[in-house]
């Protein structure tokens, strides 16, 4: 068994079971596109996989080994992009990016990462002056920082990463993900369809969470 697998995974929020009995398998070099209606548990699943939420039942394995056995190693191999853009309004785009890079022990080549999302010109602009789409690009540039470092994260968990992006930026994101996959990385991406799905076609499997959730 290779890549990321889950067995009988369940998540409970409040008193309600969001999903249960979830079996996933994503091989290295493949992406999995999660679809499902609002509230079907896509975000919860990504948070459980990242270790931000505890799983109520079941296990998650990387290369066949249970990740609960070594949570630090699991965190080191995981890059998570959530709904919010974790940028401080008074810091510039490059300062924000450099902080996250260094905190994760990566060698942040901020310039290159920003260039990858065509926002090198915004490096010295405080994040408060950036539009929603530009903030999202800076947030996604964190992935590029990890990608350009040795021993960067191999498991990408992206929660609707294309939200607020223009078509050009969506292709930049797709190219970044494809480069990650060609590097034998794994990506799990929640989407509501659209251009990103088309661009990743052929490299991606689909998984509909609402069909199997309870």
């Amino acid at each position: 068994m290779q890549g990321l697998t889950t067995h009988n995974l369940a998540c409970i929020r409040g008193e309600r079971a969001v999903f249960a009995g979830l079996d996933l398998a994503v091989k290295p070099g493949r992406a999995m596109l999660l679809s499902g209606s609002n509230g079907s548990g896509k975000s919860s699943l990504l948070r459980v996989l990242a270790g931000l939420l505890p799983a109520a039942d079941g296990r998650i394995a990387w290369e066949g080994e249970d990740v609960a056995g070594d949570p630090d190693a699991h965190r080191a191999r995981t890059a998570y992009v959530g709904h919010a853009d974790p940028l401080k309004p008074s810091l510039t785009a490059s300062e924000n990016l450099e902080f996250w890079g260094r905190l994760y022990g990566l060698k942040p080549e901020v310039e290159t990462a920003l260039h990858q999302f065509s926002i090198a010109g915004l490096a010295d602009v405080p994040a408060r002056y950036l539009s929603a789409g530009q903030k999202r690009r800076v947030n996604l540039a964190r992935l590029a920082v990890g990608q350009n470092s040795r021993a960067g994260p191999m498991l990408w968990l992206l929660d609707e990463p294309a939200t607020g992006l223009d078509p050009g930026a969506v292709s930049m994101l797709a190219n970044t993900i494809l480069a990650h996959l060609s590097n034998d990385g794994v990506a799990i991406v929640s989407t509501h369809g659209g251009r990103l799905d088309e661009l990743l076609e052929g490299k991606a499997d689909h998984f509909s969470i609402s069909a199997r959730g309870t």
Partner: protein
Amino acid sequence: MIGFMLILRRELRLAWRGGTDAVIAVVFFVLAAVLFPFGVGTDPGMLPRIGGGIIWVVALLAAMLSLERMFAGDHEDGSLDLLYLSPVPLGTLALAKAAAHWLTTGVLLLVAAPVLALLYNLPGEAIGALAASMLLGTPVLSLVGGIGAALTLGARRGGVLLALLILPLYIPVLIFGAGAIDGAVAGRPIGPQLMVMGGFLLAALALAPWATAAALRQAIE
């Protein structure tokens, strides 16, 4: 250690560029302490007797003003998730946040306190006791306050809840801090009070980051 310095530097930079937040606490401290003599009258014998207690009570309240924002911003914009997922332990994060809070609030209170002491006509040795007790006491306020800030994350009316949670925990600091100043005014030795306060500081350094980390873990889920 690298993680601690990174977070501390980020917090200080944010405080510096944020400007007013840190200044508000010290302005409140001075203003509130200046109001008391108007309320209680200017009997020259009374002010030195009550001054130490008043300065300490106002310092507790001032330190609380900026506590609510300690983790709230990071919680709202998703930074807390990423801080948790980073190789830096949550305990280190809690310690760095408390250190930043102390440097941007406690130190300013520490600087302003002797000026207020003059206003209350405290004798010279009492000003020394005030400075020493605040040096030992204000870091405790930041460390213990961090627990409250983490516990009230995401709560409605978190500020009020924070006050209810944290003020009772501040009472020991208040008792020994004001006690040291009273002692100095009365000409008694203040060593014992300061030693107890040093004990509080060591205990808070050891326990508060750990408790804050547990509360943050809860908030992330």
